[in-house]
Each structure stands twice: as structure tokens, then as C-alpha cells.
Amino acid sequence: MTDMMSPTVSFVRPTVIEQKTPPFRTSGPLLWARENLFSSPLNMILTLLSIGAVWWVVPGMVQFMLIDAVWSATSSKDCLADVVKHPVGACWGFITARFGYLVYGQYPDAERWRVDLFFALEAFGIFWILWRKAPFKISGFAYFFLVFPVVGFILLSGMASIGLPTVQTHYWGGFLVTIVISTVGIVASLPIGILLALGRRSSMPIARLVSVVMIEFVRGVPLITILFMANVMFPLFVPEGWRPDSLLRVLVGVGFFSAAYMAEAVRGGLQAIPRGQYEAAQALGLGYWQMMIKIILPQALKIVIPNIVNNFIGLFKDTTLVAIVGIFDFLRTIQASLADPNWRSSQMPLAAYLFAALVYFIFCYGMARYAISVERRLATGNRH
């Protein structure tokens, strides 16, 4: 202090100033509330309104979904107020009773372990890829994009030579079909989307033209139209005598659809990579594909992971549209169950659609959280 007061021009600090903790509290719930909830009059009003809304909605929801809920039932009669002797909320018994159908569709009971194994293999692959510190990351991608699709296909559709009876796709249904369609959409769209994005930026006019036409055509048409077209047109392109089954047609349509959107996401990433990266790679003698695979794509894809995941979220929700071309996805099996005379009742749809919403929400919200966490990590500059 005193040394700064001296009128001389020259100054040399004689001692080092140690770091000290700040004199005011920088954390704690009260401080958090003051800073985040009540920082301004407008903020205060919004906070109070939100509390009011929660107060108004939540007790009713709890009453309906938990307290008045019926947890097991064999038909809609078990969910009548006269039978259970109290006001009836959600009839979860409907879900539990129809659970097998909602998950597997008509997949034969004896073979359902194959579906379970399929789910397990997929979950394993997803964790392997998403878990940041997982070992053998490259093998993880190879597993999810090469091994798992083949194994999964054999597992689900069967292969007589290894003792797995064939299960035709029109027996597949429910959550299984939802997962199959979104998985195929994801697994196919990433490589095709990358190729389209590279094609669009390529110096070869033909590659560029083909990519642009593909991308813009698909993006300019609603998914339903593509599903109808795949349903009607796809058989025209395959050899006579082979009638591709309707699930396959839908998968092809969904694959192209998601690939076009993926291409645009990837293109955004490619544009963000500085020219110097290309030049350094070229100057070292790397060929086009080496440069793309080793240098450009790893960086570009990392930047657009949030966009890619957002595409996946959209795709996951869009799978419900396949019901229109006669595929029994998760939502469609719920509807079908509601049409069952055994379960017909005016309040049954409430629980059923609540459950559907909950399932879609859990998956989409999970993906959204992942995208946000990646976004945060990228924003803090940790790009590894």
C-alpha cells in the first residue's frame, strides 16, 4: 500500500502477494435463488407464475397417475370405478397386460429372447460409442456400424443354418420396430450422409450434381411422401419375382431421408474446418481419403455432434409415420391394443397415450441431454 503512495516513478514489488479467498460467498442455495430466480421484477413474476403453475398441475397429475392409478388389470372392466371402488385415474394395468405386444408386436413368444438380446447388443454399442473414456473407441464404431447391424439382422430375422427359426417381418411390431427403424436410419444415414456431404463439396462435377440432387430432392419432400414412394416405387427397381417386404421398403425410405439431413449437418462441420488443415494434410502427402478420414472428418463430425443428435431425435419421432404405410410401430401397437374389444373404454386412451408420450420423451430427452453435454464440452474448448 504505502509503496504505491510514494511519489517516485520507479517501483519494484518487494514481496509476492499470495492468493486469498474472496470476502463474499460465491455459492449456496440462497445466493443461487437470488441470482437465478429473483434477480429482477420480471424474473420474480415469472418465478411466482411458474410456482403457481406447478402447484396447479402437479397434484392433479400425481392423483391421476399414481394415487388413483390401477396397476394390474386383465380387461377394461378392472379399471371401472364401480369395480375398484374408488375414482380411477390412469389404468396402467392396460400397459402391463399388453406390455409384450407393445414391445415385440406379434414376434413369437418362444423367440422373444432374440429381441431382448438385440436390445442388449444395441445398448452395449451405444454406450461404447458415447462413453467418452471407453477403450478401443474405433472398434466401438466398427462394432456399431458393421458388426451389430449384421448380427442384429440375423438375430431378428433368423437363420435356419444356425438354428434360429425365421421370423418374418410382418410379425415384428411395437417398440422393436420403432428401434429397428431408427437404428437403421442412424446406421445408414451417417455413412451415406458423409458421402453425400463430401460429394457436395467435391471438385468432381458429377459427384457434386448427384449429391445436390439427392439432398435437395429428399429435403424438399415430406417423409410421408417418401414412405409412400418407397412403398410403391421401390419394388419397381428390384428384380422381378422378388417382392421386398414392406418393412424393408420403409427402411430404405427412412435411410435416404435421414441421410439427406445428415449430409447437411456434416456439411456444416466440413465448412468449419480451416483451409490450413487440408493444406497441411496435402503437403504431407496424404491422399484425399486419408486426409478426410484422418484429419478432416474427425474434426468436422465432432463439431456437429449436437446437430447429428438433433437429427436422430427428429428421426426417432418421425418413425411414428410408418404406421401410415401399415407398419406396426410402437405407437401403432398402442392404438391397436386400444381397439381391442377387451380393452375398449373411454378412459383407456389417457393412460395409453401418456405412456407413449413418456417413452418417446425419455428417449428424446436422453439424446437431447447428450447433445447439450457435448455442446458444453465443445464450447469450453475441450475438443478432444
Binding site: 480451416p274 490450413g276 488443415q277 493444406e279 497441411a280 494434410a281 496435402q282 503437403a283 504431407l284 502427402g285 496424404l286 491422399g287 486419408q290 484422418k294 484429419i295 474427425p298 474434426q299 465432432k302 474448448g381 475438443r383 478432444h384
Partner: protein, 261 residues
């Protein structure tokens, strides 16, 4: 550190087979309608160190980028160690393998560690076993005096360290010719020296190099010739002594008066 079977024993600096390392004759280049390089003639002999200087926009970068085909010239010929640069992709690859380049902004690969930056090209372009590539990479990291940074990422290094890594990365490919495009002009003053020292060592070992730089001390110390460019043309060529003491062209005099205070 050293194993009995050592990749280093097989490691030889690239040797030019031709007396003429780079021969540029009557070369012209346009960006659209803009005539950026005009009738450039330049012969660089084996072991020569050529410094190119000139005002901003005079085409220095474009010229050296033509030598490894980061830019394409439209007229005239460029022959690198006996191989003429044409649209032939094989020849371009061949030349790029023999010509190292160091950029103003380092252009390290930010998603790879320092060691991976160094071993990438030897492994994928030269198909070298990873173990050998690692050994050679560590050798060059020691030479640029930062072996302890091998496992870090480029973003964790200072500018000077990054540029030394970039030099080491080029050296790992055993280039016969090194091109430098203003390697120190993006660096803070206190880091310029460490990079220049590395380059001086390289020059003293007989590397054929072309450096675009305004570091006149460096030019004096190592250059065999200094080339002055202006408006896409080679305006003056001379030994460093003569160039600085006795510039001939008006533009050269003006330029030197601006950069030497």
C-alpha cells in the same frame, strides 16, 4: 531409449538425386483474371537456401505453394528433383512426399497429440510401422527440444513450440526440400528466436530450403541468395551481402528502407 533394431539407423535425410532441386521456367499464374505470378524463373540448386521477401500481396506464398501444388500454375514448368509437376496425381504425391512445408499458422492437427501429428504421415503415407514412426518422431522432437510435449495436444503448446512441432512433423517424412511460408510472423517476439534457431540448424546441415520471411538476420546468416518479389514478379536476386548493402532496384530500396529501421 535406443533399441538394437533402430529405425534411426535407417533414417537418412532425404537426398536430392538431381543437382537442380527446383527449376521454375517461364511460370505464370492467374487467380481468375488477376495475374498473380508473372514469368517467374528460378533455379534452386541442391543444398541452397533461398530467402524470398517482398511486400504483402506480391505473390511469395503463391509461388512456394505452386512448388508442392497447393496452387496450380497455368503456364511454364516447375521441375522438382527431376520430376515435372503436371496434373498427374501420382507425380504430385511423389513430389509432396519429398517436399516439406511449414506454414505461417502452423496448421497442426488439433485433434491429435503431438506424437500423433508427427507419426501420421510416416504411418499412412510411407506405411512405416508405428514403432519406427514413434522412434523417429521422438528423435525429431528431441532435435527441436520439446520431447516432453509428445503426449500433449497442439492447443496446449505455445506458438513457438507449435511451430517447432510443425517443423519436426515435416522432417519426419525425410524431405529433400523444405518450404517455409513466413514461419515466424504469427509468433510473439520472444518465440521467434527458438524457431529461427531450429531453421538455422537445419540450414547448416545442408537442407535445401526456400523461406519466405522478413527476418533479415536469418537471411544474412544462412541464405545463399535473397529474392525480392513485387507484384508477382521476381524483381531482384542477389547474395545477402549485396542485397542488403547494395540494393539495385528502386522497389528493393524502398522495401528495405521500410523494414530495416
Amino acid at each position: 531409449m535406443s533399441s538394437s533394431h533402430s529405425a534411426l539407423s535407417a533414417l537418412r535425410p532425404g537426398v536430392l538425386t538431381n543437382e537442380k532441386a527446383i527449376e521454375i521456367t517461364g511460370m505464370n499464374k492467374w487467380f481468375g483474371a488477376f495475374h498473380v505470378l508473372r514469368d517467374v524463373n528460378l533455379l534452386v540448386k541442391r543444398g541452397e537456401r533461398v530467402v524470398i521477401c517482398g511486400p504483402s500481396g506480391s505473390g511469395k506464398s503463391t509461388l512456394i505453394r505452386c512448388i508442392n501444388r497447393l496452387e496450380e500454375h497455368q503456364q511454364g514448368s516447375i521441375i522438382v528433383d527431376g520430376t515435372e509437376l503436371t496434373a498427374d496425381v501420382k507425380k504430385i504425391d511423389e513430389i509432396r512426399r519429398d517436399v516439406g512445408m511449414v506454414f505461417q499458422h502452423f496448421n497442426l492437427f488439433p485433434h491429435l497429440t503431438i506424437l500423433e501429428n508427427l507419426t501420421l504421415a510416416p504411418i499412412w503415407v510411407k506405411k512405416m510401422p508405428k514403432k519406427d514412426a514413434d522412434e523417429i518422431a521422438m528423435h525429431y522432437l528431441r532435435r527441436v527440444k520439446i520431447p516432453e510435449q509428445a503426449d500433449k495436444y497442439p492447443g496446449q503448446l505455445s506458438g513457438g513450440q507449435q511451430q517447432r512441432v510443425a517443423i519436426a512433423r515435416s522432417l519426419c517424412m525425410s524431405p529433400k526440400i523444405m518450404l517455409f511460408d513466413e514461419p515466424t510472423s504469427a509468433l510473439d517476439p520472444e518465440m521467434v528466436k527458438e524457431v529461427l534457431d531450429t531453421m538455422v540448424t537445419l540450414a547448416q546441415e545442408g537442407m535445401t530450403m526456400i523461406c519466405v520471411t522478413h527476418e533479415m538476420g536469418f537471411a544474412r546468416q544462412v541464405a545463399s541468395r535473397v529474392i525480392f518479389m513485387d507484384q508477382g514478379q521476381v524483381v531482384e536476386v542477389n547474395t545477402p551481402d549485396e542485397f542488403f548493402k547494395n540494393p539495385q532496384h528502386e522497389r528493393t530500396k524502398l522495401f528495405l528502407s521500410q523494414i530495416l529501421h
